[in-house]
């Protein structure tokens, strides 16, 4: 059901705007509704995070935007890249956008590069396809880009194969590949999940630099709230394929209004608590797909009311630039 568009204020013209975005796999009653009713907007140079547990459908959002859904997946709604509708464009037109105006980096750098091609080749082909560069020019540009993402000794390393790089370096190569055409939008699907913590920090710093120096808008999907806190200016919280909450990171971290967010933050172990304190886990488990009537979080919410089970809460504004989907906002409860 279409919600009244309540997009958190992006400030200025948005690079990417999602409206009533939904993703569904399979057809008919046996289909799986993975994502529903997502509204989103990112402006130039902004970094927005999408947070959620495994199975909340966050990766599918990115894949659908790129037009890379599995063959039985269908996306609906509106996806506008700089005011141009790109949802369900034919492949040939998407190929011109992908890797050019809009690029994506993936979660597992160990398996995301073609094993039998040299790195140089994998970089140069993007330049050849999108900017029509010659082999030599592309080679030089690729080396420059590798140096930008801080790959040491890029001139020599460009002729190596992917398996000769470490995980962190492969992720940098992926980022380099994504940046070759100076995209307006960078989609990142859990880019640091598979990496060590120290390497994580470096990659996040790199991404922040890209947004700042190139003005690239970054939409980063992660289940790690720490990543969000250190990198993203705004964050959208996803549960069960629906948006629970959205707004500036600082707000959401410091004043979580949604029971889900509250639960997540409360579940984080705190060094301040005396040792032996039980962790406050959110009871139950996230289950993918299958939209039931009512709030997606109802089964696990500590403050669940009968209304929550029957009616799906709609995203409402709750203060400056903030939206929340919960029936119980505004009612006097001790958040």
């Amino acid at each position: 059901m279409p919600s009244t568009p309540m997009i958190a204020d992006a400030g200025g013209e948005s690079v990417l705007a999602l409206r009533d975005f939904a993703v569904r796999f399979g057809a008919g009653p046996q289909g799986l509704q993975v994502v529903e009713g997502v509204d989103l907007a990112i402006g130039r140079g902004e970094i927005m995070g999408i947070v959620g547990e495994s199975g909340s459908g966050k990766s599918q959002i990115l894949l659908a935007i790129m037009g890379l859904l599995a063959s039985n997946g269908r996306a609906s709604g509106s996806v506008k890249l700089a005011d141009r509708e790109i949802l369900n464009l034919p492949n040939r037109e998407m190929d011109q956008i992908r890797g050019g105006e809009m690029a994506m980096i993936f979660q597992d750098p160990m398996t995301s590069l073609t094993p039998h091609l040299r790195i140089g080749r994998q970089l140069e082909e993007i330049l050849a396809a999108h900017r029509g560069m010659s082999r030599k020019a592309a080679h030089a540009e690729a080396i420059r880009m590798l140096e930008l993402v801080q790959i040491p000794d890029a001139r020599r390393r460009i002729d190596l194969f992917p398996h000769e790089f470490s995980g962190g370096m492969r992720q940098r190569v992926m980022i380099a590949m994504a940046l070759l055409c100076r995209p307006a939008l960078l989609l990142a699907d859990e880019p640091t999940t598979a990496l060590d913590v120290t390497v994580q920090a470096q990659i996040l710093k790199l991404l922040a630099g890209i947004a700042r120096d190139f003005g690239t808008a970054i939409l980063i999907v992660t289940h790690d709230f720490g990543v969000v806190a250190s990198l993203c200016q705004r964050v959208t919280v996803l549960y069960g394929g629906a948006v629970m909450e959205s707004g500036p990171t600082a707000d959401i971290v410091r004043r979580p209004a949604h029971p889900y967010r509250k639960g997540l933050i409360a579940a984080m172990p705190d060094l301040g608590h005396p040792p032996g304190t039980a962790l406050q886990a959110i009871p139950g488990q996230a289950k993918p797909g299958g939209f039931r009537p009512g709030c997606a979080f109802a089964a696990r919410c500590a403050s669940c009311e009968p209304l929550c089970r029957s009616d799906r809460p709609v995203l409402q504004t709750a203060g400056a630039g903030r939206t929340i989907a919960c029936h119980l906002t505004g009612v006097a409860h001790d958040w």
Binding site: N91, D95, R98, A103, S112, H116, L117, A129, H163
Partner: protein, 305 residues
């Protein structure tokens, strides 16, 4: 790369040696002998013949002599075809045999790959199901049924192709090559389809598509090279199947190849021609296997993780 090839070839030598030993000793130890024919020869003649063929020497000496001669491609005179040496018989028969075999493997590879790729790309379409069904037939129906049936249909009833025989005309080759290639076409197509589907599901193909370089490049440069590996590895067994099948094909189509010696062979328990054939064919098979090793090595990054 060259060292890999060389190493593989050297690894094959002990196996060939082992085979030569087994061949030789089984032949010598089998009941009956080259002179155990219908006629009873006088003892003096037998003794003389034995001396001429070095059969009076100790066994190990005979073996060494056999090896030495084999290396010079001399397998002695044929017992069945007087006035012909085994080496000559092999050489004369080798032409048609190798030609048919090589053509069959080439055909199987080309058609199998094409069929497999198309089936994978148009998964669950009518092309896929059609190709799949033909492949089932190609595997389940033995070549010695397909062969005669096609001979009947295309040769006798429709008169389009010669039923049997050999000559310079390409028409003599068409049916034998196609029939010989059939089972391999089907195996390779199935293998390629499965391999292609698996490669298309990988993360790196997803990345390649995300780069917007176009589906054609993604397929040709990224997917195909990786997907073709199992097929290259299969070429060894494919050659073995082709060799085994060629014996039947040569009989059905009356081709003057090496295969017919296998058939007549059963009349005599001891025959040099057979030995010769085995060693030659084994070597060809070995070379094929090494060729795949080379091919596979070529398609792989030089230092696999």
């Amino acid at each position: 790369m060259l060292s890999l090839c060389l190493r593989r070839l050297i690894q094959g030598v002990p196996t060939i040696l082992a085979l030569a030993v087994v061949t030789f000793f089984i032949m010598r130890l089998a009941p009956g002998g080259p002179f155990a024919g219908n006629r009873q020869l006088p003892k003096a003649v037998i003794a003389n013949m034995e001396r001429v063929f070095h059969l009076d020497e100790p066994i190990w000496q005979q073996f060494l002599r056999f090896l030495w001669n084999a290396l010079q491609f001399d397998f002695g005179p044929s017992m069945t075809y007087r006035d012909y040496s085994v080496a000559r018989l092999i050489l004369e028969g080798a032409g048609p045999s190798f030609e048919i075999g090589l053509l069959a493997i080439l055909l199987a590879t080309v058609i199998g790959l094409a069929l497999g790729v198309v089936s994978a790309l148009r998964r669950n379409s009518w092309i896929d199901y059609g190709a799949g069904f033909i492949c089932v037939l190609g595997v389940a129906v033995p070549i010695f049924v397909i062969g005669p049936v096609l001979q009947l249909l295309l040769g006798l009833k429709l008169g389009l192709l010669p039923v049997a025989g050999w000559g310079d005309d390409w028409r003599f080759r068409l049916l034998p090559v196609v029939v010989l290639a059939m089972p391999n076409i089907c195996y390779i197509a199935r293998l390629m389809r499965a391999s292609m589907l698996e490669v298309l599901r990988t993360n790196y193909i997803r990345t390649a598509r995300a780069k917007g370089i176009g589906m054609r490049l993604v397929l040709l440069r990224h997917a195909l090279r990786a997907a073709v590996l199992p097929v290259v590895a299969y070429l060894g067994p494919a050659t073995a199947i082709t060799i085994t099948g060629s014996v039947v094909i040569e009989q059905i189509f009356q081709l003057p190849g090496i295969g017919r010696y296998f058939h007549r062979r059963r009349a005599q328990p001891r025959l040099h021609a057979g030995d010769g054939c085995h060693v030659v064919l084994r070597h060809d098979r070995d070379r094929r296997q090494h060729a795949d090793g080379y091919g596979a090595g070529h398609s792989r990054p030089p230092n696999p993780p």
